[in-house]
């Protein structure tokens, strides 16, 4: 337990509430890590929130920026942080001092939903650590499941590591490099933890001969192994060997890992980049499951609160606060709302058996409206969903035309004519396409390392897998600068600009763009 955890203590009345909420949550089938609640005043809350929920991080100005935003919005009464919970084992959650008891109960119920999700959704297994605080192979889930997720300690250690370098080299030098690394932090491969380690093919260096068909009669040789054929085979093998010389052999999506392994980094640079990469992977499951995770926690807080926790005198206050959390304004999607409604829809459909071939094939609207075969599989289904899906698969599989219409979802786009964002369509396919394109890879472009010896000059070539949207060019130029800072040689990126292939290049001094036809 961190030193921080011992500094504050939960008042007895809240501890009693926690026991009660915990029992109720467990009784409903939620399966969570132990939860430690801390009570904080608003200043501490803003500080910890600025650090992404962690009491100790490495020093960086952007945490100060976030703190200023939070502190100002709080001081001027525009917003306050309701709850914060960290994916750690045990999980830490924070309560805001001075909130009403109903609010605190709401937060607790919500937190148990999140912690159940942290423990059971498969993506979070990528944050399991071993004794040396390295991530372990997440494909194996031991039973009973009590993984090491001491990320509070790990983050604090990252802070210590970077502070040590700061003490030695000065804050400006370190911070500047951290900025560059942060520009690259989205260049990771979220699937990497789940892919089996690709073993480098260890091929013997001995030159291979083209295999011949054996013959005991020498005069048959030129017929059985004709010279032209042998030459062709030899040329093909040479070509294969040349191709193998390309490095990396296959496109590499974990650009950060590639840089860590192959860029000429000084010791401290390696350390900084490693910290940034590990933290990027820690946060990846959270943005992969934002809708699902918030939806799940909201689903359970509303169920637990309304059926078990509250008495009738508290229900109005609860409903009022809950409505604030679930509100959508200005046509924006609220992940809490979208998530919770989808879970409810799934539960309802699986309870009534509104799925499968028979349901899909039914054209009778009236029959569909009253369809209920009393399967009662709802509860089981949503628990399954929370374990095995991410936002992308969740939306792709369970967003239906009925749901889309009931929830008044729409897709929007920029209209050049009227210079504003306009509603484009309410069709399921279009809405789903937009949603999925935003969610896929966290809305980040796909970038691969293609060649570490580009044009045989030790330059780095990256490739943007263009899927219909151009990169933001001013930012792309800045990121290239950061890449050059890390790679220490010119860096190029192939992408498309207005439907034409283009190569952006930064050589350390100047940017250039080469358009292809």
């Amino acid at each position: 337990m961190s030193e921080f955890a011992l500094r504050t203590s939960l008042p007895v009345y809240l501890r009693e509430e926690q026991d009660r909420v915990e029992k109720i949550a467990a009784g409903e089938g939620l399966d969570f890590f132990p939860v430690v609640f801390e009570i904080l005043n608003y200043d501490q809350m803003n500080e910890i929130a600025a650090y992404g929920g962690f009491p100790n991080r490495y020093p960086h100005w952007r945490f100060g920026m976030e703190y200023e935003r939070l502190a100002k919005s709080y001081e001027y009464g525009l917003s306050k942080i309701y709850e914060m919970v960290i994916n750690n084992n045990p999980s830490y959650a924070y309560l805001l001092e001075g909130n009403s008891l109903v609010d605190q109960k709401l937060v607790m119920a919500h937190v148990y939903g999140h912690v159940d999700f942290f423990k059971n959704n498969f993506t979070f297994r990528a944050t399991d650590l071993d004794a040396g605080a390295h991530t372990v192979d997440p494909s194996k889930r031991r039973n009973p499941y009590d993984p090491n997720r001491r990320w509070i300690d790990k983050m604090a250690n990252h802070g210590t590591r970077i502070r040590k370098h700061v003490a030695r080299f000065g804050i400006n030098r370190i911070e500047e490099f951290v900025d560059h690394c942060l520009s690259l932090e989205n260049l990771i491969n979220i699937h990497a933890p789940f892919q089996a380690q690709q073993k480098a093919d260890v091929e013997s260096d001995t030159p291979k001969e083209v295999p011949r068909l054996r013959t005991e009669r020498p005069y048959m040789e030129s017929f059985i192994n004709p010279v032209e054929f042998m030459d062709k085979q030899r040329a093909k093998m040479d070509a294969d060997r040349d191709r193998a010389k390309k490095f990396p052999e296959r496109s590499e999506r974990d650009v950060l890992a590639f840089l860590l392994e192959h860029a000429p980094l000084e010791g401290w640079e390696h350390d900084v980049l490693e910290v940034i990469r590990e933290e990027a992977y820690y946060f990846a499951p959270q943005w992969q499951t934002k809708i699902m995770n918030e939806g799940w926690a909201s689903f359970w807080h509303s169920r637990l609160m309304t059926t078990k926790i509250l008495d009738s005198s508290e229900i109005i206050e609860y409903a009022d606060n809950n409505a604030g959390v679930m509100a959508t304004s200005g046509g924006r999607l609220n992940p809490y709302k979208l998530g919770v409604e989808l879970y409810r829809d799934i539960e309802d459909r699986w309870n009534k058996g509104q799925f499968g071939k028979e349901w899909e094939d039914c054209d009778d609207l009236d029959a569909k409206r009253t369809w209920n075969v009393r399967l009662g599989l709802g509860q089981q289904k949503i628990f399954e969903v929370r374990s095995h899906y991410t936002d992308v698969t969740f939306i792709d599989e369970f967003l239906t035309a009925d749901f889309c219409r009931d929830q008044k979802l729409f897709s929007f786009g920029w209209s050049n004519k009227s210079e504003r964002f306009e509603i484009e369509s309410r069709e399921l396919k279009k809405v789903k396409d937009k949603l999925l394109s935003q969610l896929t890879n966290g809305g980040n472009p796909f970038i691969y390392v293609e060649d570490a010896n580009y044009e045989n000059r030790g330059e780095l070539l990256l490739r943007h897998d263009h899927q219909g949207q151009d990169l933001r060019s001013d930012y792309a130029r800045e990121v290239l600068k950061s890449l050059v800072r890390v790679w220490k040689r010119p860096v190029s990126l192939t992408t498309m600009i207005e439907s034409k292939t283009a190569i952006l290049r930064f050589d350390g001094k100047e940017h250039s763009v080469r358009q292809m036809k």
Binding site: E422, R426, G443, N444
Partner: protein, 371 residues
């Protein structure tokens, strides 16, 4: 209580002010500052620095939303007013970087002040303006290591060792323990430093429309609020003029409506008289601010103004500030004339104020010099 975040926060403030890591300054997105709906409602700037990533252009992307509306309606559900840049990613709001709220005057002056340099008021005559200074005045048992008083600490340790009998003159080794440590302590003292007066002059002639007067008032109001906050005992005098000038009280200055011709020289002459009678230049720091739409009555009068400035004003003032508001009627000639005569004189600061949004920039131009 000091927080860990304080260090990161002060780094961030340093970057925003351009004091450190200048190369980051270009990424700062500033909110605006001064209100649209009267003086109560203002927008608080929350500067934000974006770290560049490989990312998509927002306009190409669009997104999915929830709510009422037909295809073709703007986002936000209000068919009249399209909300600018309201396209947010599902699941993650980039966060608004400015907020509209009520704030007190003091807070606002503070916010404004983060961007400004103080005028460098000189030490003149019998002092009226108070400034604060920290002095080391004593010793205490706790404090930061950087303020440790070595000699006192040593003495305490020596005294302790002697009284406990483990000091030997042959081997005079003194090892302080935490209890021996002594630190400097300080007191904040008020020190009178200087006298200063600000003379505000405003053109209230017919060519100055209501909007122009409002701009001048907002600007002088904030100048005054900021300077008054910084220097206790600062004097302010107010002059309004059309074809004739007269001195008025603060209330009148901020609320009067008049109209007539424009003779700027009348104001300058009155200003010079005021200085002569009340504010001898060897005892006072003097800051005249003049605001007009730049539409003077005649060229002769303008030349007269230049003459008064050269003869009477400039030798006595620390800085002369002229702010010109753009007006639909005026020719805006005056600032050009001033530029012609005083372009090389760094005591004269000129600023053109296009509209309300330009007020902040103009205040910065006036006070950014630190003169």
């Amino acid at each position: 209580m000091s927080l860990k975040i304080d260090q990161d926060h002060s780094r961030f403030r340093g970057i925003v002010r351009g004091k450190i890591r200048e190369n980051l300054k270009k990424y700062i997105a500033q909110g605006e500052l001064i209100g649209r709906k009267g003086k109560d409602q203002v927008t608080i700037p929350i500067p934000h620095i974006d770290i560049p990533h490989f990312t998509y252009g927002q306009k190409q992307q669009g997104g999915a939303g929830q709510g009422e509306g037909e295809p073709g309606d703007p986002m936000g559900g209000d068919p009249e007013e399209g909300e600018e840049g309201s396209g947010k990613k599902a699941g993650e709001g980039a966060g608004e970087h400015s907020l509209e709220v009520d704030v007190t005057l003091d807070e606002l002056a503070d916010i404004l002040g983060e961007e400004l340099e103080l005028p460098d008021i000189e030490d003149k005559g019998k002092s009226r303006i108070i400034s604060e200074k920290d002095r080391y005045t004593g010793i205490r048992r706790v404090g930061p290591e950087s303020l440790r008083h070595f000699k006192r600490t040593y003495r305490e340790a020596l005294r302790r060792q002697i009284s406990m009998g483990n000091y030997s003159a042959d081997r005079p080794m003194i090892v302080p323990i935490p209890d021996d440590k002594r630190y400097r302590s300080w007191k904040t003292q008020a020190e009178p430093v200087a006298n200063a007066v600000i003379i505000y002059m405003m053109d209230v002639s017919g060519s100055m429309g209501d909007e122009q007067k409002e701009i001048v008032r907002i600007e002088s109001f904030w100048l005054d609020a900021w300077l008054q906050k910084q220097y206790k005992g600062l004097e302010s005098r107010f002059i309004i003029h059309d074809a004739v000038a007269r001195e008025v009280d603060r209330e009148t200055f901020f609320h009067t409506r008049e109209s007539g011709g424009t003779m700027i020289s009348s104001a300058y002459r009155l200003c010079a008289t005021l200085i002569d009678n009340h504010y001898p230049a060897d005892e006072w720091n003097i800051y005249p601010f003049h605001f007009s739409d730049g539409d003077n009555w005649s060229m002769d009068d303008t030349l007269l103004c230049v003459d008064i400035m050269k003869q009477h004003l400039l030798p006595r003032v620390n800085m002369f500030a002229y702010g010109q508001v753009e007006s639909p009627y005026g020719s805006g000639q005056f600032i050009k004339d001033l530029r012609e005569h005083f372009a090389a004189d760094d005591r004269v600061v000129m600023s053109e104020i296009r509209d309300r949004d330009a007020i902040v920039g103009s205040i910065k131009e006036f006070l950014g010099r630190g003169k």
